[in-house]
């Protein structure tokens, strides 16, 4: 009787306390989130105003808009660091760039097809005591005598390979409705075989194409065979 009743009251009180706690937590969380939103909105609006001023300042040929005073030494240094980094990035766009390491140089060969940049290849060279490479590669004969020539030959091969592969990918992607199945290609991407169909009036004509790229430094085929199957 009384005891069970007391127990029930205890349980009810406990549950009510838990609910109260939960509600308070929810309210706190909502309040925190709301405050954060307002803080961010303020920050965003301030930044927008700063950027707008900057854009207007551009027309007046003024430099730093919010710091009319002399820029700090640290700011000048940081500007210079960013500026040199930007120039190093331009070197990446030229195809051969790199950075000096403790034991030699790490070259980066970038590849591109027309204006689109594709894979980058890294080559770690140890120059002390003599020039060595971490792995096997083509054009190794130039490595000891003429690193520049070596990199140039390597760059030609890589760019051509990547160019052939990119063209094959683009062909597969943009003409998938005309090509039957998938393009067959070898690992060097210098042999491409595929079937495609041409529709005219109510007939479709199946064709088989074989592209052979005889020159590994070239991304255009040297031999084309088309047959009607």
């Amino acid at each position: 009787g009384v005891f069970t009743h007391l127990e029930m009251l205890e349980v009810q009180a406990h549950e009510a306390a838990l609910k109260q706690e939960e509600m308070e937590e929810q309210e706190e969380k909502l309040a925190r989130l709301k405050a954060r939103v307002q803080q961010l909105r303020l920050q965003r609006d301030e930044l927008r105003a700063k950027v707008d001023l900057q854009q207007k300042g551009q027309l007046g040929k003024e430099g730093a808009v919010s710091d009319p005073a002399q820029p700090s030494a640290r700011a000048v240094l940081e500007w210079k660091i960013r500026s040199v980094k930007a120039m190093l990035q331009i070197f990446c766009l030229t195809g051969i760039s790199g950075k000096l390491t403790k034991r030699g140089v790490c070259f980066c060969i970038s590849t591109a097809y027309e204006g689109t940049y594709l894979d980058s290849y890294y080559l770690d060279l140890l120059t002390k005591p003599e020039v060595k490479m971490h792995s096997n590669c083509i054009a190794k004969k130039y490595l000891q005598t003429d690193i520049r020539r070596f990199l140039s030959v390597l760059s030609d091969h890589l760019n051509a390979y990547v160019g052939r592969r990119y063209q094959a990918d683009q062909l597969q992607e943009h003409f998938s409705d005309q090509i039957e199945g998938t393009l067959q290609r070898n690992s060097l991407h210098n042999l491409l075989v595929f079937n495609y169909k041409v529709s005219s009036e109510n007939q479709t004509f199946p064709f088989n194409v074989r592209l052979l790229y005889g020159d590994l430094c070239c991304s255009l085929p040297t031999e084309v065979t088309i047959s009607c199957t």
């Binding site: 909502l30 709301k34 920050q43 500026s83 040199v84 195809g95 790199g98 689109t116 760059s155």
Partner: protein, 190 residues
């Protein structure tokens, strides 16, 4: 009901944080692109920066760290210029468009490769698709001083048409190297 309000706040917070990050980058880019300090000014700053922190290093970056970083970057740059033969004499860029997934910059670059000087303008497009960043150059415009040489001008116009900055530099580099070899050989015979 509370949960959906929470979610709405959280979504807004995420989008505001992205916006703040983007605006900060735009502001910093614009600051960077519209200022210029000469080498002399940079040297003076290095000296005064070191003097300022003679006693205690403030913040997380010691002046020697920044100086070391600059020296290492400049060493890499001068190595590359010497190794490839491509010397850049000036470079300026302007960020024309910047959104979460796309950045477009206009670049102006001048320099020389052995005795051949060039002036380039191009647009650099960077697109971000999840984790993958793709880079492309467009609107390539090349000016080279060797107008009389029809081979060079044919090469320049075909490279401009294709829009391949990389081909331009690779070919320029080989052409000028062989040009130098020929020049030295002819001098030898004089």
């Amino acid at each position: 009901m509370d949960n959906s309000i929470c979610q709405a706040y959280e979504d807004e917070i995420q989008s505001l944080e992205e916006e703040v990050k983007l605006l900060t980058e735009m502001y910093e880019d614009c600051q960077q692109e519209s200022t210029f300090f000469s080498d002399k000014e940079v040297l003076m700053s290095i000296k005064s920066f070191q003097r300022e922190f003679q006693g205690e290093p403030k913040g997380h970056e010691f002046p020697s760290d920044l100086k070391a970083e600059l020296e290492s970057l400049e060493t890499d740059l001068s190595f590359l210029m010497k190794f490839t033969g491509i010397q850049f004499t000036s470079h300026s860029k302007k960020t024309v468009e910047k959104t979460r997934n796309r950045t477009v910059q206009k670049h102006r670059l001048s320099g020389n490769c052995h005795s051949f000087s060039f002036q380039l303008e191009f647009q650099l497009l960077e697109m971000k698709n999840k984790e993958i960043v793709s880079v492309a150059t467009t609107n390539l415009s090349i000016i080279m001083a060797f107008g009389e040489d029809s081979d060079v001008s044919k090469f320049v116009s075909s490279t401009e048409e294709q829009g391949s900055l990389l081909t331009f530099f690779r070919s320029l580099s080989s052409y000028t190297e062989w040009y130098e070899h020929r020049r030295c050989t002819f001098l030898h015979f004089k």
